[in-house]
Symmetry: D2
Subunit: 333 residues, 4 copies
């Protein structure tokens, strides 16, 4: 039985904890740390039989803990990762590892010295049933050689301008998931990127120095193409689709809705809107990513998403940010 | 070049004429007869180079006419068919040949004496792209042995009670197309029928002695099952679907709409309603049925829908009418 | 905190237990009884902190238990229900309560004497996201007055002839869920039923005195119609669809698949087959039905599916069985 | 009755002629000219009652001809347009008017001098039922302010390298339709364009100096974005889709197939591939564009696609070609 420590008991920390409790028979959440933990969360954590602490170092320093899930604020991810690796813990680190490449590289270096440790980064969408089915179609050869990857990713509602300003920008905060999806679906590296950005949703986001809409085109290592379209606001909910086109065909996913019922009447034939909230849309993927991380630790098999994936997505994000600023295509890395 | 005479220049007579003009290179409409022809229709007919007459016997008696399309009122179909056969014309007869079995049999007898003549009955839906694709799937073996045929057939708006009363009833007037569809899709005969009728749309239809809604179940010659659901009114248009379920799978069609565009917004994801009017929905099938009839004449090959099909559908309709009255299952024929 | 006892630790007993553990914060499984419990199941139960017993009477007689879930073999449902009611327990009883109407009525009588007790029967499909969305459309008035309910229900693979013979027959074993669905979707009672049965899948099922295919038509209390088509074998998986047609439109559901990905290639455009196994297809509904039962107990609100629903479905099943034998329509009850 | 002359009796010339014969009551094809006319085509033309000539000047110089359809080889379009305008004919010119901007401008100048003449360019896809339904949704305000236009356009099979070399390149030959579609759907001008081209289908096309795959991003006059993805080869047929995303929602079209039948079986649930050939896919649009051109002439109303549209698409194509060569974004015009 693996002993897991949860660092950060906010929304995503709770989701992961609950996934382990509900679905994982080989691991147990034995400690939860959060400096701002509420009474309610404390009671919930203790109800699960976990020790509760304000200081995550209580987890890092606990020799009984085998693995940690780093769910704290983004700016602490790389530091806590380094401390956890130093303490010999397996690490599940929420994305991004860091926005700074040097600090991500420090984590990669630390891992080289401890090859027995598993480290994964939380690109949960790779575990989504639809995107995985597309990837499986690619791997199976059903669509031939990959020629084009398309990702549509639209948030239901825009963040505040303050959030946008502090988030590292749309490409580091939002598109980073889509960059990883392009790498995942194609199995290739992104070589160059061109961004056509726009401010169409909220001028305040523009005033804060960020964008709220973009089309991002990419050249992949095989010569294949990729394109992402993003918007920070979507009137019909959370729009999350992908398509891979290849020499023998294409695999494409649609959105998920709460039901597939269609109501036909004088107004037309109306189906439900896509699931609105990312925790609804991707709930199953969050559970699967934690399950597969723990499986990798227990069975000493490769993690599904390694630290390199965390670096690669950030490097693309940096190039995209630069392209948006310069209006020119930019090579990655 | 086949010379065609059109008997009856109402809506469907015009549709067939236009199909020949537009799509058929091997035939020419040389005469059109209608006792109630309007000036406008007369001008249209003459514009096509056709002789116009008030008396259909001018067509029957014209030795230059090779084939006639009988598009006159239903109660004249069998009589004119007999006259046309006697005059040595090939016949395309709109459905039904007659509501009276003896009179249909008289036509079949007349045809036996003239095996060189082609005779077809206008079950146009057999020529519809969707239903034909289902039939092709059945014939190809793709769905294995047929076990169940399902037909959904709902009119956009109910007829007047007067029409209902004089039409021979819903099973002879409306369901007769669906009975033929069951025979077509399955390639089997209907052995018995049970009707669960209802008056849900317009009480006046009930007062006129007819029904406006029904579920009809059938046993087919192989032991397979069939079911039709009918309504005389459908809020979202003309609902025309079919499904055949077999030992190896199923083939099912959806409705056709004017476009496949989906508009997603706060209200949901809305596609267009099905095409509302039977002439829109089945326009292509009307053209194909006439083309294939003329091909059969020109090439001396079997007609796609023979007179026997006209008899069979009426026999099922008679059994269905009786079942609706008695509340009991009824054997066909 | 409600204390729950699980009677019967087979497949469905485990599913319900796990649902409570994973999703219900207001209840705890404190005891599990099964005369044939395996070592593995025993270890699992004890791991959940439940007392394990071979004798369900240990649960019935335990004053600390507030509610029981009866997941034992079907022939014990009514007897254990009566004992549990006598002991003052709330009861979640798997379907059917009994195949014998007198014994179901005994349970209803016992409940009349204890109006403070909640009793529900496990028609889980009412809690399915798709069917519930149809029901919501009906209740909202979006489709007007109900005129026709259609249910398609096809199992992926047939049972053995032995099972068929001992199950009470297809109408009591399989169609009973669909009868309940007709009642649920329409909000009406079934007044009469006509069955067109067939043996198309496995002759041995016929030799055992049962059927493997059927079309069932029904007249509902408002005069509306209903139709169910069943097959014991479906080449493409578990086919579970419904449609309600009304005066203002229709609401229809499609099957659920593991993903919505479509692979387009030389073969066509291919989506995944429906989920094959009922526990996959209906897993979410099993969780919701247990949650809502416990909510009803905790909040003293009406249960979503009452004992009367268990009786009604059996009465329709009995009428259907008789119709299949006689070939005639049969009034229900 | 408008007298029409057809210049060029190749594939598209025949399609337009047939559309006029079949669907247009206000016009008559009275002359057809083609220097390479076959005996078969000559017989067909004469069968329609048209004068046949080898020299298109016979049409230009015929005072009885009101309008001409220029369906000759692309390099003759602007010259014949100028001659027809000079002769006072209304002109339907197949796309492109020319690949040279000066020569297009010469046509625009000539038209300024004869404002009574109608001139249209054959961007037939604007008349397609699906794309028009999207445009209607935009115009109606149903999706709010346009933020992104997406066009997917994939040919079923690549041209020869020789064709590619002489066609003006993929952006002038193929994408030009999609550029017009972006302008049509958005109602905006394209301000700048960036092309990410690739040679993924046929290296010979690359050796001929052209590309066979591309992602093209555009900035529109309102600040909105657009993206086109092209491939010269698509294993599942002719892929022609569009989507417009706006502040209030999105409108998206799917492909058209010969039927909507889905065959479900062990292999999955398979629908038909999109229509393979552009004449099948766009047949209805070809008829509608000719009808609406003739309506504009007859009623003296604006043509649906004016000469300016022909220029605009070429200017975007030129910018795209330059972007593909330089790897940089390029301003249009």
């Amino acid at each position: 039985m693996l002993n897991i420590g949860i660092i950060g008991a906010g929304r995503i920390g709770k989701v992961h904890t609950q996934s382990i409790v509900n679905y994982v028979r080989t691991a147990k959440v034995t400690a939860i740390a959060d400096p701002f933990i509420t009474d309610e969360t404390k009671a919930w954590a203790e109800g699960l039989g976990a020790k509760v602490s304000l200081d995550y170092l209580d987890i890092i320093n606990d020799p009984a803990i085998d693995a940690v899930l780093i769910c704290s604020s983004s700016d602490t991810h790389s530091r806590i990762s380094l401390e956890a690796i130093a303490a010999g813990k397996h690490v599940f680190c929420e994305k991004p590892i860091d926005l700074d490449v040097d600090r991500i590289n420090a984590v990669l270096e630390a891992l080289k010295a401890k090859p027995e440790l598993k480290f994964t980064v939380g690109f949960n969408r790779r575990f989504d049933h639809n995107f995985r089915a597309i990837r499986n179609a690619v791997v199976s050869g059903a669509i031939g050689k990959v020629e084009l990857v398309k990702v549509t990713s639209r948030d239901p509602a825009p963040p505040s301008a303050e959030y946008a300003a502090s988030s590292g920008g749309i490409f580091m905060d939002m598109t980073i998931h889509d960059f990883d999806m392009v790498r995942y679906l194609s199995g290739e590296e992104v070589e160059s990127v061109f961004v056509q950005p726009a401010i169409l949703v909220d001028p305040a986001i523009g005033e804060a120095g960020d964008f709220d809409s973009a089309v991002v085109t990419m050249k992949l290592s095989s010569g294949a193409l990729a394109v992402i379209d993003n918007s920070r606001r979507c009137a019909y909910g959370y729009d999350q689709r992908a398509e891979v086109f290849g020499s023998e065909g294409a695999a494409a996913s649609a959105n998920d809705a709460a039901s597939n019922v269609v109501i036909s009447g004088a107004q037309g034939c109306t189906g439900e809107k896509p699931l609105y909230f990312f925790l609804e849309r991707y709930m199953q993927s969050f559970a699967t990513e934690v399950e597969e991380f723990i499986d990798a630790v227990v069975n000493d098999t490769p993690v599904p998403v390694d630290a390199q994936a965390g670096l690669a997505a950030v490097l693309i994000g940096i190039a995209a940010t630069q392209s948006a600023k310069t209006g020119l295509p930019v090579k990655v890395g």
